[in-house]
Symmetry: C2
Subunit: 376 residues, 2 copies
């Protein structure tokens, strides 16, 4: 790996870290939340708005993009940044998770996975090598290895088998990455630690991956329905074996509470559909907790979601109007609540970073939770 | 009526007129296209964008707003401008058209119409007086009389009966307006000429309404499925009997071609769901004609819809991306195409106004149509 992708830690507070990832397309201030732009768009938002909320990086889904418009087509259109008008860093997942959750007729072998598209039923294959190739065609900046995401519950043997297969795929991913990406272009390959909620398996996975000396590591296979306590325990069991100097990415997480608790346990990066999906379904995340805008109590509430916010969606529109738009299934309601939610998540990361720098992360965590409980 | 609502004609070219309506909330440059904000939102757009395209006035639907959130509630929220964050002029229709097209179990008498809400089945009544009251509660600036919109085809007797009933409702509307609106506050009541495609009935309707000396007049009951030639012939048959010094509003019209042909026949104002609805269904209106972005020919077309446009939606996003978003049913595709379409309609009105002022409206009309046919 090269100096073009660097991670610098500026401050620590307990296990929490505040750092900066630097790469040619921009800097990522960590802890960072990456809005999910599944199919080349963060649903319901203009990229200008996404940027304005404070997002340094967005996530694209390899599974969706390989099926439509297709990786080669995205490449001919100049790559994902150019197509979607987001010139800053992009992380893409490997496609593995959505193959398991969305597609039909999956068949998994040592070689990779074949599946049927959920869009048109066409057959596709994904190997560790093809996943890297697709992500390079998309012009991704942080590339994830293909891993096997098993459905839970599963036996210990099954969890171990999938974790070890994922490790072998990490080795193949690294070799493919080194063939396809020229050194010094600032792209990075992240490995994915698996092993369910078994500390020993997580340790084995983390140690093996650490030996590959990749520029970053993710925790996969969490936030798939287990209680929050189990997820946090698994982070705690894995963290000591993740290289301290590399960014740590908790995939697919989570609620605001999940985020700030995970940051306290040493996580640097997150992605989740929650703020965008919840926004489309009438839910606003705020300093005062979650608000369901469908609730009749908002029908004549002239206050904005939070008058102290700098996000126009949060500050400038009355709850009564948001209630009306939501009840009427108007697109603008979805647009505004999504904007508010991404704005809130980015605000929360900004505050977390400031708290770590100030050495008051524990207080920040307690105050933030108290605010959600207290309401207004 | 008062000086607070004025209409000044600056230039004429044949029957076409270029003028300005002045009222306390702002000026309306005519010919004007009013984007439709049915339920207090122009679907898929921020009001800032609507304004930026050049819209001087938007339309709100009394039928939708009286059912949800309710006229009294809108009034308690400070009126429609305040609720929806559009401080400029608003025209509201009377509710009559949607009662006929959307609601169930309608019953029409001399007094008014009772109907069942299409949302929850609740029974409601609308009289000329209640329609004015609702529009005042909404804080509408241009208020439309309740009229009877019959379904076509209908017998001559039926068309005449509905037209005469609509006239009697205009008289009652005027009386209600004068009771509810204090003189000099800049609000205006427009009468609606009916009479189907019968020149004699249109003349009778226009002359009777003209005698009421209302500040503006609309042509109703057109663009309901008849061929364009019949619509234009009806405008020609009505126009001589509409007061020359009052704005003339062609309700629910239409395509870009309908607009520029109607302007040539003396129409000053339009509203239509076409640009917003078409945008949600993948259609872009442009200088080069209509484009269906679902068409595979756009899949790798890197050009924007029209690089010469000042509208970001039209100028900054590739057709390939719009194709992808549209095929993927992504909200952003609907948002961008709606923005483009409202932008194009406003651009067309701007060009029409300039052509009238320059005395070259016939050339403008021919060139615009040639552009649609020629394509790129």
């Amino acid at each position: 790996m090269t100096n073009d992708f660097t991670f610098t830690i500026h401050a620590r507070d307990g296990k929490a870290r505040q750092g900066t990832i630097t790469m040619p397309r921009g800097e990522i201030r960590t802890p960072a939340f990456m809005p999910v732009g599944t199919a080349g768009t963060v649903k319901g938002l203009y990229m200008d708005q996404v940027r304005q909320t404070g997002a340094d990086i967005i996530l694209g889904n390899t599974y969706h993009l390989m099926l439509r418009p297709g990786a080669e087509r995205v490449a001919r259109l100049g790559g994902l940044h150019e197509m979607a008008r987001w010139p800053w860093p992009i992380l893409t997942d490997s496609g593995g998770f959505q193959v398991m959750s969305l597609s039909a007729l999956r068949k998994l072998t040592e070689e990779g996975v074949t599946f049927q598209s959920h869009i048109d039923g066409a057959r596709h294959a994904l190997t560790p090598e093809r996943s890297i190739e697709i992500q390079v065609l998309l012009d991704s900046n942080i590339i994830m290895q293909l891993d096997e995401c098993i459905r839970l519950p599963a036996s210990d043997e099954e969890v171990a088998r999938a974790m070890r297969l994922s490790y072998r795929w990490a080795e193949r991913s690294k070799a493919a990455f080194e063939r396809l990406v020229k050194p010094g272009d600032g792209r990075a390959l992240f490995g994915i630690v698996q092993g369910g909620t078994h500390p020993a398996l997580r340790r084995e996975s983390a140690e093996a991956l650490a030996a590959l000396d990749l520029p970053g590591y993710a925790l996969g296979g969490l936030a798939v329905g287990e209680p929050q306590a189990e997820m946090l325990a698994t982070i705690e069991a894995s963290e000591p074996f993740l290289p301290d100097t590399k960014p740590r990415y908790l995939m697919g997480v989570g609620t605001p509470d999940d985020l700030i608790e995970s940051i306290a346990r040493g996580i640097d990066m997150f992605d989740c559909v929650m703020p965008t999906r919840a926004g489309r379904h009438g839910t606003a995340y705020t300093r005062f907790g979650k608000m369901n805008l469908r609730n009749a109590k908002f029908a004549e509430d002239k206050r904005p979601l939070d008058e102290a916010s700098e996000c126009p969606a949060t500050r400038d529109y009355s709850r009564a109007y948001l209630h009306h738009l939501t009840k009427s299934d108007e697109m603008l309601g979805q647009m505004l609540l999504t904007w508010n939610n991404i704005g809130y998540y980015q605000w929360l990361m900004r505050e977390a970073r400031a708290a770590i720098r100030a050495g008051r992360y524990a207080d920040f965590l307690a105050e933030t939770k108290a605010g959600w409980v207290r309401g207004e």
